[in-house]
Symmetry: C2
Subunit: 376 residues, 2 copies
């Protein structure tokens, strides 16, 4: 008998944004008008070769790994080429880690709410997911200590910087505490960091991986470059990395060698920092437009996060409202968001929702928020 | 504790071919000098766009799926766009199928010997792999019936056309018998078909999937186009396909949208059949060169297969020889092959080995076979 899996939440969500008249705050998509289409086209033109068209090493293109290692090092996380495995997007890294580290029945601790496709991935691996409480400073280390004591998780998953779905950032004190706790208990930590470079305010916080040896750090080209290439990377200590390479080989042999070569050409020829600065300037405006509109959009008593970066604002409505029901009202008015329930590992809070501000212009955001106000 | 996995056989093999002075008969690689580098470069130039750089549907690029469906239909396997899932190489299809269909402890039946990375993949899923006997006409349906009776496998895996590693082809009578047996027992069959278009002699045999509803058919761009793109496809009946889409979403969200768009542009603009005909003309010469040299290369009493297509010749040496030991002798003489043991699910025959004839010219094959003769 085939195993049965519930239909995927992300998948159902992406369908919401298909109608062109909808102003979508639902996706976690980068703004396509900011893609460097010309630069990437030129990079592909230079990258296509007999070498990049052939089978390639599972670990990834050595040039790309060296460039990524240099970037991570420059951002304060000392990384050698040999510490990195190129993955088919960050999403693949999650599945590889689940396969490598989790036996069926293993326990995974997560912040709550958290990235829904990570939840999906741990569930597919047969793991039991347990939530850890947090607040505007991110996951609470005391709450984590208690969960570790009670549940003995194998793995802790979190998006410490500009989290999906809340936009919150784990502060440095708590990063140190969580890394120390992981060392003490032999807990593996997955630091999923697709948004870290998209900072619109304040100073960077050092990566969780810089505070301990038990942290697997995941990065991605999807938010700072383009997601269509499906390029991510995983920084892990030996021997975990060796095991992950074996698992990846069974998963897809290697990530597209053409895409890797194109990314390496692009990173060598372009100033990605300057591109990221352009992204940040635009996304900052969009975040500001959304936050400015929120007080006139939502009912009194609604609370929301105030993200320093990333893509998301997280709302909690007052009273006994179900945002899944509200979504139907919103779609009838051609505006979309993500109901919050699917970001919960266990007991969902149905009064929550996620708004993404990256793909709409300030004018579209103003219009979308007006439509949303009418739905509320 | 992390799970532990034995180091990967394919991986160790690819390392053999790295030294430039080695004439390698070890890989299962297409000949890079036959890649249509210019055609693919132009296709990438046209494919890079805001759309192909963005996140994309998990099922795959609709244009590519339609083109692949038309090709399969033209080859005698009626296929609609909706029957197909694009995968990150055929290898990914195997892992998705293992995740979707196999609980730990499930039984998978395979022809013996068979593709070693498939064995790896089923083992990673916690399955028990049981071999089914065959001969020069491919898997023996009576032997399969007996295994089905005794072991109650969930899945049957085979490469029916120009098998890896033997080069053998399952004949039509046996295909019908195996498809009927699968229907009768509710057995899922994986027809892995990366080599089917590389025929150098004789008439095409209809796909196993054309004889029954229980067959998942896997195809690949790796052998007829270029493997660096990691593009494969999976043709499956609903609801298996729906489940596989959910599993794929957790695995990597979707296959590179740029690579898919480039392949779609390429297939629409070029005559792939003409390209395949060129590949076949060259590979036919190389197969002939290898088969012609074999009698003077190997010890008396050696037997080998006589493939109608594909990439491989399979040898069985006389007596108590271990080809893993022989490989060291061969490498000392700058020639490489794959010892046969790792292609066995259970009890390996150490006197076997696999030769690939695709990447060496006839002159290099002649020289490589002379070196091999001196090693024997």
């Amino acid at each position: 008998m085939p195993r049965t899996f519930s239909s995927s939440p992300v998948r159902d969500l992406l369908a919401l944004t298909a109608r062109p008249e909808v102003i979508s705050f639902a996706g976690g998509l980068p703004a396509p008008e900011l893609f460097d289409v010309e630069g990437l086209r030129e990079a592909f033109g230079r990258a296509v070769s007999r070498r990049s068209l052939q089978y390639a090493p599972t670990e990834g293109d050595p040039d790309l790994r060296a460039l990524v290692a240099a970037r991570l090092t420059a951002r304060g996380l000392p990384t050698a080429t040999g510490d990195l495995l190129v993955t088919t997007g960050s999403q693949q890294a999650l599945t590889l880690i689940a396969t490598a580290l989790l036996e069926p029945g293993a326990v995974v601790a997560v912040e709550e709410p958290t990235y829904l496709a990570a939840l999906q991935c741990f569930r597919l691996a047969g793991a039991r997911v347990v939530p850890v409480a947090g607040d505007e400073r991110g996951m609470d280390p005391d709450a984590l200590a208690e969960v570790v004591e009670r549940e003995r998780p194998e793995l802790l998953y979190l998006v410490p910087t500009f989290a999906n779905p809340t936009g919150r950032t784990l502060d440095e004190t708590r990063r140190r505490a969580i890394a120390a706790l992981a060392e003490r208990h032999g807990l593996w930590v997955v630091e999923d960091d697709p948004y870290g470079e998209l900072r619109y305010r304040g100073e960077p916080v050092p990566a969780l991986a810089s505070f301990g040896e038990r942290v697997l750090h995941l990065g991605s080209f999807s938010k700072v470059g383009a997601p269509g290439l499906r390029l991510g990377w995983l920084r892990a200590p030996e021997p975990i990395l060796r095991t992950l390479v074996v698992v990846k080989q069974a998963a897809d042999l290697h990530t597209s060698a053409v895409d890797q070569a194109a990314a390496a050409v692009y990173l060598a020829a372009h100033d990605l920092d300057a591109h990221v600065a352009r992204l940040c300037a635009t996304y900052r405006e969009r975040r500001d437009a959304m936050l400015a509109a929120l007080p006139d959009t939502v009912p009194a008593g609604t609370t929301w996060t105030d993200p320093d970066g990333g893509m998301f604002v997280w709302l909690t409505l007052p009273g006994e409202v179900d945002t899944a029901v509200l979504l139907r009202e919103a779609l009838a008015r051609d505006v979309a968001f993500v109901p919050g329930a699917s970001f919960y590992a266990t007991t969902p809070d149905h009064s929550t929702l996620r708004l993404s501000f990256t793909t709409a212009t300030p004018a579209e955001i103003a219009e979308g928020m007006r439509r949303l106000a009418s739905a509320f």
